[in-house]
């Protein structure tokens, strides 16, 4: 991960041209205003692993082709109207109040630059590395969110949290970040803790890491998570992650990242996807409830590696596609609308006649979010954080 700047530097052709320019920026560039801190705004990034079907989450029910392409999944039953064209999947009904309050929006027909092979691993690698196709997939070892932190000097490790048990390449890199999963359940008696502290006392590395681990575990195991914490089966994990993150975000933490898995709905999508969407809804509602007034200064982006086929397949599901949807939420958002240019579902408008045609780059939305929240210089975003990205015009989705 440390090697990434050198690796970018070594690369030839087009990539080297922009990366070589990016290289010094990573060490010298700071905020437009030169601020050494991120201010009060919060950014939460959720990676939806497995490729969320954007066309089912936010359905183009106003397009007559939709029902024809999706005779089973696109019946429109129970869909909650959002605007003239789109409706929200009923599994996310709990988010409607946010839509009305302008705290929820979607981007439709968006994707990373990844095309054609439709592999989850490669797709997620590209999504989290934030690179274009000019960079071989396994080559970049740090994530775009970490590179954003690298551009801001003087941040403490507490600034950013990778939350959850899974590796999160999005936040991997040279900038120090914290990672923790509430799944590390340390049930230590007072005596055991005392003995561990003695055993760790003379080894600074173990003393610091062990102390932090025991503090976090005690906080989570004790009153911090509250007696009101329900653990209703399926979503208990998600809720636990959300509560933990909210707790950090109310404090020093400005950036948090999660991943939610299980979006690969090749079969029986009608059963599988609602559960996923409810999990996402629970995550957002828990964050909102637990963050209190901090939510007003928060922007959440939920993004996935690619969309799914426009037509449903033979096993009541959908296969790997291209253009998809991104969810945005938070009090900092100008929501209640669908962003992005809708390409339509006509066969000639599809990507390779099978997938929703991407009309925007996921990275562009993330870049404008960071510019809006933290005042990051456009050059830093286009060259260091997302090498080679053209951010285009400000889509103006922040309040």
């Amino acid at each position: 991960m440390r090697d990434v700047t050198r690796r970018l530097f070594l690369r030839g052709g087009l990539a080297a041209a922009c990366s070589a320019a990016a290289h010094p920026l990573l060490t010298t560039m700071t905020f437009a205003q030169g601020a050494a801190q991120l201010g009060e705004n919060r950014l939460i990034v959720v990676i939806l692993r497995g490729a969320m079907d954007g066309l089912d989450a936010v359905q183009p029910v106003g397009d007559p082709l939709f029902a024809r392409l999706r005779p089973k999944l696109g019946s429109g039953a129970g869909v909650l109207p959002l605007d003239g064209l789109f409706g929200l999947h009923p599994a996310m009904a709990g988010l409607l109040p946010l839509w009305s309050a302008g705290e929820l929006a979607f981007v439709h027909a968006t994707s990373t630059p990844y095309r054609d092979k439709r592999s989850h691993f490669d797709g997620q690698d590209i999504l989290e590395a934030g690179t274009g196709l000019d960079v071989p997939v396994p080559e970049v070892r740090d994530g775009w969110l970490n590179r954003m932190l690298q551009a801001v000097p003087g941040l403490s490790a507490e600034t950013a949290y990778a939350v959850g048990r899974e590796a999160l390449p999005l936040l991997a890199g040279a900038a120090e970040v914290r990672r923790w999963t509430p799944e590390v359940t340390l049930t230590l008696s007072a005596q055991s803790r005392l003995l561990l502290e003695q055993v760790y006392h003379d080894d600074a590395l173990f003393r610091d890491a062990g102390g932090a681990a025991m503090d976090l575990a005690a906080e989570l195991g004790g009153g911090g998570m509250g007696a009101d914490m329900q653990t209703p089966g399926r979503y208990a994990d998600t809720e636990m992650l959300a509560r933990f993150a909210a707790d950090r975000l109310r404090g020093e933490t400005r950036i948090a990242a999660f991943s939610l898995s299980g979006w690969d709905t090749h079969r029986r999508q009608g059963t599988a996807l609602p559960q996923q969407l409810q999990g996402l809804e629970r995550l957002i509602l828990t964050l909102r409830a637990q963050m209190g007034s901090t939510w007003d200064r928060t922007m959440l982006l939920a993004m996935t590696e690619f969309g799914r086929t426009v037509a449903e397949n033979g096993s009541d599901g959908t296969d790997h596609g291209t253009g998809g949807a991104m969810l945005m939420a938070g009090g900092a958002l100008k929501g209640g609308r669908i962003y992005g240019r809708w390409p339509g579902l006509a066969e000639e408008a599809l990507y390779e006649r099978r997938d929703l045609m991407p009309t925007s780059d996921v990275r562009g939305w993330a870049a404008w979010a960071m510019r809006g929240l933290y005042g990051l210089d456009r050059r830093v975003l286009e060259q260091a954080v997302f090498p080679g990205l053209d951010m285009g015009d400000d889509p103006g989705f922040l309040r």
């Binding site: 991960m1 090697d3 050198r6 690796r7 070594l10 690369r11 030839g12 080297a16 592999s119 691993f121 490669d122 071989p136 997939v137 396994p138 080559e139 970049v140 070892r141 048990r165 899974e166 590796a167 390449p169 991997a172 914290r178 990672r179 923790w180 999963t181 799944e183 590390v184 359940t185 340390l186 049930t187 230590l188 008696s189 005596q191 055991s192 003995l195 561990l196 003695q198 055993v199 760790y200 006392h201 003379d202 080894d203 590395l205 173990f206 890491a209 062990g210 932090a212 681990a213 025991m214 976090l216 575990a217 090749h266 079969r267 033979g314 096993s315």
Partner: protein, 452 residues
């Protein structure tokens, strides 16, 4: 046992107590390495053709699903067989490490497999990544690096992971007809990770020329490595000032042989070895001596290990490195006297829940390093709040779940697990712990158990 022997058990093996017949001291360690591969003989893996065939059936089933001539259910059946075989590779890693007296070989097998990291891009690739470690790395880890490099970089798992199988000479017949071109991935990593090392004296053009030279290499399911002359870029290529020309595989082999013999490669590999086994900041003079042995012996690795093990620091305190999670878990099993047979036969869910899944929380998801540069070396990368927290949690809970806590005496356990490396402070703390569970956990969670 002397303190030097105890340190060696951690530094060059999987900890204490040593299996019967384990070598002691540099000369015996090297002798064992020069002998037969005991770990592999104890727990043999399926032959390559068997694994290629298994992979091929899954590839075909995946294609059939796409064509609509097979159901996803059939595909999943094939994937299950692949995954069972992959799990067997994992179990063998544990069992060999526990059983073999030749612990240094097992540690070297991990080290070199990590040097040639491959990750399964598609689930069915996982049997191929296992085969790379088994057939390209293990046979050569006491032989010549040149042979390991040739075997690893031309192995199907590598060709797939680093996209070589889709790199086409833009001037080749195939490339012209299909409008396809180069993928530099393997060429770059062959130079940057596998041989010279990042920062060595090479330019982007060397990478590009090597990529052109490597065109023609392909992978065919069921068959393995295939050379497709019609995909090979015509003409000679120049890599690091040397011109390579000729038909078929010959120039590919020549360039890899030359890269293996490069002085920068000697330094890079020596630095990696010393960093992995001794310290995150190895002595530059030692690196030079190891590199000189490598070059003087036609890239043979035993002489390199010999120089490393002859260094005054090789068997001495302090132990500055952190054991990786996989070593921590295997080392714990050994200290708890879990037998290799138990690991081989425990139910799949138990194996996954108790031994494999916890490594993810510790920062080392089994088989899934983030990039081709493999796992990190620095102690501070592993001993983080979450990483250490997960080790403590595992240490406190798992001995009991493995049935090893009942009747155990933590005061004896601390000596068995650490020998002369158990500090007085730890022995006192263990004696003061409230329960057997906490006492065993304290030992496994201690810095002395987690450093090497």
């Amino acid at each position: 046992m002397s303190e030097a022997d105890d340190i060696a058990a951690f530094r060059y093996g999987y900890g204490l107590p040593l299996p019967e017949g384990a070598p002691r001291g540099a000369a015996e360690l090297l002798n064992a390495l020069a002998g037969p591969d005991t770990g592999q003989a104890l727990f043999p893996a399926p032959a390559t053709p068997e694994l290629l065939a298994l992979h091929e059936t899954a590839v075909k089933a995946r294609a059939d699903v796409r064509k609509g001539t097979a159901t996803r259910k059939e595909f999943r059946k094939h994937l299950k067989r692949v995954e069972r075989e992959a799990e067997a590779f994992s179990r063998r890693t544990f069992a060999r490490a526990l059983a073999s007296p030749d612990g240094f070989r097992e540690r070297l097998a991990w080290f070199w497999a990590d040097h040639f990291t491959t990750v399964a891009r598609l689930r069915e690739h996982v049997v191929l990544t296992g085969d790379l470690a088994e057939r390209a790395v293990r046979p050569h880890l006491a032989g010549r690096f040149t042979d390991m490099l040739l075997a690893a970089d031309l192995h199907p798992a590598m060709l797939l992971y680093l996209d070589q199988s889709s790199s086409i000479g833009p001037g080749s017949a195939f490339g012209q007809r299909k409008g396809r071109g180069l993928n530099e991935n393997l060429a770059r990593e062959a130079i940057e990770l596998h041989t010279l090392g990042v920062g060595a004296g090479y330019a982007q053009d060397d990478v590009r020329q090597l990529a052109e030279l490597l065109t023609g290499l392909g992978f065919k399911p069921g068959a393995g490595l295939v050379f497709y002359p019609r995909r090979a870029e015509p003409g000679a290529e120049e890599v690091l000032g040397q011109s390579y020309d000729g038909e078929g595989m010959a120039p590919v082999r020549r360039v890899l042989e030359d890269l293996a013999h490069h002085p920068e490669t000697a330094r890079h590999l020596s630095r990696k070895l010393a960093t992995h086994f001794l310290t995150d900041t190895p002595d530059p003079d030692l690196i030079e001596r190891m590199a000189a042995a490598y070059l003087a012996h036609d890239t043979a690795l035993l002489p390199v290990y010999e120089v490393m093990l002859s260094d005054p620091s090789a068997f001495a305190a302090p132990r500055q490195k952190a054991r990786q999670p996989v070593e921590f878990i295997i080392g714990s099993l050994r200290a708890l006297e879990v037998t290799p047979e138990q690991v081989m036969t425990m139910p799949a869910k138990r194996f996954a829940d108790l031994l494999i899944a916890p490594m993810r929380l510790m920062g080392q998801e089994w088989g899934r390093p983030i990039g081709p540069d493999g796992w990190a070396e620095e102690a501070a990368v592993w001993i983080t709040p979450q990483g250490l927290g997960a080790r403590i949690a595992w240490a406190m809970d798992t001995p009991d779940r493995l049935g090893r806590a009942e009747g155990a005496d933590p005061r004896g356990f601390v000596l068995r697990a650490l020998g002369s490396l158990a500090p007085e402070m730890l022995r006192i703390a263990v004696a003061r712990s409230e329960s057997t569970r906490d006492g065993l956990g304290l030992v496994l969670a201690s810095p002395e158990f987690n450093r090497r």
